[in-house]
Structures are given as C-alpha cells and as structure tokens.
Amino acid sequence: MFQAKKNYLIAYGFLLPWLIGLIGLVLGPMISSLYLSFTNYDLLTSPEWIGIGNYTDLFGDRVFKKSVEVTLVFVIVGVPLQLLGALLVAVLLNQKLRGLGFYRTIYYIPSLLGGSVAIAILWKNIFGLDGLINDFLAWFGIQGEGWVSNPNYAVYTLIALAVWQFGSSMVIFLAGLKQIPMELYESASVDGATAFRKFKSITLPLITPVLLFNLIMTLIKSVQVFTSAFIVSEGTGGPSNSTMFYTLLLYLKGFSYFDMGTAAAMAWLLLIFLGLLTAVVFFTSKYWVHYGD
C-alpha cells in the first residue's frame, strides 16, 4: 500500500512538466480564450464584456467572409489534388521499381522544404511577372502575367505550392500499399484483370483506411495554412484580399489591430469548424472506408 502510493508520487513526478504545460499553456488558455472571445480586449486595458458582439461583428464583416471563402477554395481545390497526386505517384512507385529509395527522396524533398519562408520567397518569384512560369509559357508563345499580383490567380499559386508538397502523403500511401498482399494481384492477373481493374477493385478499397488518415491530416493542415500566404502577400492577404486566409486574418486582427477579442472568437470558430469537419469525415467514413474482415 505504502509502495503503491510512493509509486503514484513518482508517476506524477514524471508527468509534472506535462501537467504544468497542460494546465498553464493549453487548458487554461483555451478556457480563457473562450472568455476573451466575448470581450473587447486590446491587451493594454482590461477586457470588457460585450456578449456575442465579436461573433455578430464577424458574420457581418466582408473581409471575414472573404477569408472563409479563400480558405474553403484552398481546401476544396487543394486537398483532393494533393491526395490524388500522392496516391498516383505512390502506385507508380509500388511496382518493384529499381531506385525506389531515390525516387521517394525526390518526391519527398518538396514536403521537407515547402513550409519554409525560403520556398515561399521562391514561389513569389517564379509566379511573378518575370518568373520561371512565364518563361516557360513564353516557349508556347503565351504572354503570362504576374500571377501572384492578380486577384483572380493569387490563391491558385498557393494551391500549387501546397499540391507541390504531396510527398509526405505519398510516403504514407506507399507504406500502406506495401501492406496489400501480392497474392491478390497475382490471382487477379490469372483471372485476366486489367491494370485499371486491379487498381479499382484491389488497390483502391484496401488503401481507404490510409486515405482516411491522409485526408484528415491534410484537411487540418490546409485549413491552417499561414506562412506561404503571409510571405507571398507580404503580410497583407492581398491583392484585394485574394490570399486573406483565415489564420492570416486571425493574426492581423490580434497582432496588427490588437483586437484580441475578435482573434479569440475566430480561433474558437476555427476549433468548432475543425471539430465538425473531422466528425463529418469520420461519420461518412463508414460508407467508403474498407476495413479488412
């Protein structure tokens, strides 16, 4: 009995740094940000309770609506393209190819580097008026424009940057594909199945659990995209708010306009949205994810 109590104490000793962090830096701040979201707070004077004012203001705010729209376009266009690219290249690499390790490295490098400021700077340049993309288009006699400075295209340059980083999802797909028993493909070949048929009837159903995982991870990451939009638009979300991503607006509200209450309200809306999104994906997954019997 005494020994057990002593061991509890030791266990809490091991947990202590984490517990302090959990209470002081996660749960405490979480609750306090919920409170702040109902206040006017500029960091210098003490918070003033305004009820749901921040939320109603946000829903009437044109820029807020734009930020939701931009983020949704980014997610709805970008996530399927990333997953599709990742899955196709993974399937190509999964056929006992020599130099697999080398290819995997090539495709993974963009994911490794893509989140950095350096690559965002590169992107700003290559999609600029004199950039690589327009040099390439000039070969075909097409006169390109400044893609990052055109409000119709700017968000698509950032989608391209996200899709370019499909490598980490691909590595996860590749690991999943290796788990599919070769015998399935062999007996399908004996029955005369075409490559497309094998993909549709064997690969696709058996990879759905990995697809679900990749889908959730990519969704969560995409909704929170920040660095690339910040660097490419030089912190403005421009031109004409066309790259005003949700987290960028949240940052501007909190740390440029010092409207911490609204920033906190946006953070809570983000949390609720991500929670709902994940729940919906999980709920629908039983209709399309195939778990082995």
Binding site: L15, L25, S33, L92, T105, P110, A118, D130, I231, W268
Partner: protein
C-alpha cells in the same frame, strides 16, 4: 511478354524521373540563380550559370542593417536546440508514466493528451501571448522554448508511448527484482532502448522549430533577436524584388541545415512519416 514488361517499366521510370525532376526544378533553379550575377537571373532561365559568383552570398549575409545573417543563424540554432532537448526530456518522461506506470486519472490524462494533439494552436494563442506578455517574456526566446520544456507537443508523447509499449515488460520486471526503482528503469532500460523514437522526436522538433515562422514572428520583435525565417522576411520587405540574387542566396543557406539533417537521417525521417503519419 518480358519485352513488353521491360518496356512498361522503362516508361514508368522515365515518367517518374521526369516528373520528379520537374518538381525539383524550382529548387535547383534557386540554387543556381543564387550563384549568378544579378543581371543574369532573369535573362538566363537555364540551370547552368554562365558566370559563377559568390557576390549574392556576400551581399545577402550583410543584408539587414547592422546585423548579419550569422546572428540569425545563431538565434535559430539556440532556439531549435533547446526545443529539441526540452521535447526529448519532458515528452519521454510523460510517455514513460503513461506507458509503464499506474496512477489515478491515468485514462483521463491520456485522453486529454490525445486531445491536445488535435487542437489548433490558435485556440491558445491569445491567452498564451497575454501570459508571456505579463511575464515580460516577449522578445526573448522563453515563449518559444519554455513550452517545449513543459511537453506541450503531445504528438511526440504519443509517439514515444507507442514505442515504449513495444519494449518487453520482462526487462522492467527483472530490473525491479534487482532492486531498481522506476527512475532507474526509465534511465537505464527504457531510454537506451528507445533511441529510434528519441531520434525521430529530435529530428522533427529541430526541423519544425527551424521552420516555425508564426510563433517566432509573434514573439521576437527586435532585429537582434531575429531567427533565420524572420531575417528572410525582413530582407524581403526591405530590399524586396530589387535584389533577388541575395535573397535567393540567403534562402538557400536557410535550407542547408534541414537538407543536411535529411541526408544523414533519411531512413529515420521517411520511416517516421510512414509509420506514424508525421506531417512533413
């Protein structure tokens, strides 16, 4: 049959290689451009510089007022190394308690830990800023390092719990027979056997901290405290499009630590992603 199979493989090789090279082209082009004289960067889109010069590196290094990129690199290294050590020590401690010890509320705490993994950082952002601001920690490295000393990266705890559970329990039991307490089991048995998980944690913490732009931008305000990502951004804003060569040169330098780690620990990194789904 074999011929057509070989032909198919050849086509696959050509496609995979070709497409891969297209993907890497922008990065290689940036490296090459950083070695070209400024006037050639836009007039010569080829990869092989007609004229090689290190001027961009010399100019970029001195880029921003009275500080050099050397200081930014030093600041980034200090923060990344402390974050790495913090995560190694405190995440492994918490993971050991979860994987090997019994205590009241264990299940609740474990569920909370998993919950924190899914939590977007923005939800805690404002109050955390208020706390660090009231402690007078803004514009120091403390807001960027202290959270790592408090094991706030639940993901790594989870990773280590999974790994620790795979270490045979008999080892602990026989050590207990020999009179070892939990602390010695943690230090002498678990940690030495968990090197792969510790290495994965160290590598990813370093890389993520190195690239972390958002929190560094919020908490570091004066130029002498700036890290590499902040230095690049400052450079972009102050000189902007007028000196792409120098900007590329510093961007290339900023990627070197990550690339070096990748080439030394490729296996751990790729396996870490494949088995745990770490995002890249």
């Amino acid at each position: 049959m074999t011929n057509s199979l070989n032909f198919k493989k050849l086509i696959t090789h050509l496609f995979v290689l070709g497409f891969g090279l297209v993907m890497l082209y922008p990065v290689v082009w940036m490296v090459s451009s950083s070695l070209k004289p400024e006037y050639l960067i836009f007039s010569d889109p080829g990869l092989w510089p007609k004229e090689v010069t290190f001027d961009n590196y010399i100019k970029g290094w001195q880029a921003v007022g009275d500080v050099t990129f050397g200081l930014f690199f030093k600041n980034s290294f200090v923060i990344s190394v402390i974050a790495m050590l913090g995560n190694l020590v405190t995440c492994s401690m918490a993971a050991y308690a979860f994987a090997r010890m019994n205590f009241p509320l264990k299940k609740t705490f474990f569920a909370l830990m998993i919950f924190t993994i899914m939590l977007p950082t923005h939800v805690t952002l404002v109050p955390q800023y208020v706390i660090f601001h009231s402690l007078d920690w803004v514009n120091t490295i403390l807001p960027l390092t202290v959270p790592k000393l408090l094991a706030t990266d639940g993901f790594f705890i989870f990773l280590m719990v999974q790994f620790f559970r795979g270490i045979p329990k008999e080892l602990d039991e026989s050590a207990t027979m020999d009179g070892c307490g939990p602390i010695r089991i943690y230090l002498r048995i678990i940690l030495p056997l968990a090197v792969p998980a510790l290495l994965t944690t160290a590598i990813f913490t370093f890389m993520w901290t190195w690239d972390d732009f958002f929190s560094q931008m919020i908490y570091l305000t004066s130029t002498d405290k700036f890290t590499v990502p902040l230095g690049l951004r400052l450079f972009l804003d102050s000189e902007g499009s007028s000196s792409w060569g120098a900007l590329f040169a510093m961007s290339v330098l900023s990627l070197i630590p990550i690339m070096t780690i990748f080439f030394f620990f490729q296996k751990q990194i790729v396996e870490g992603i494949a088995t745990t789904g770490l995002k890249g």
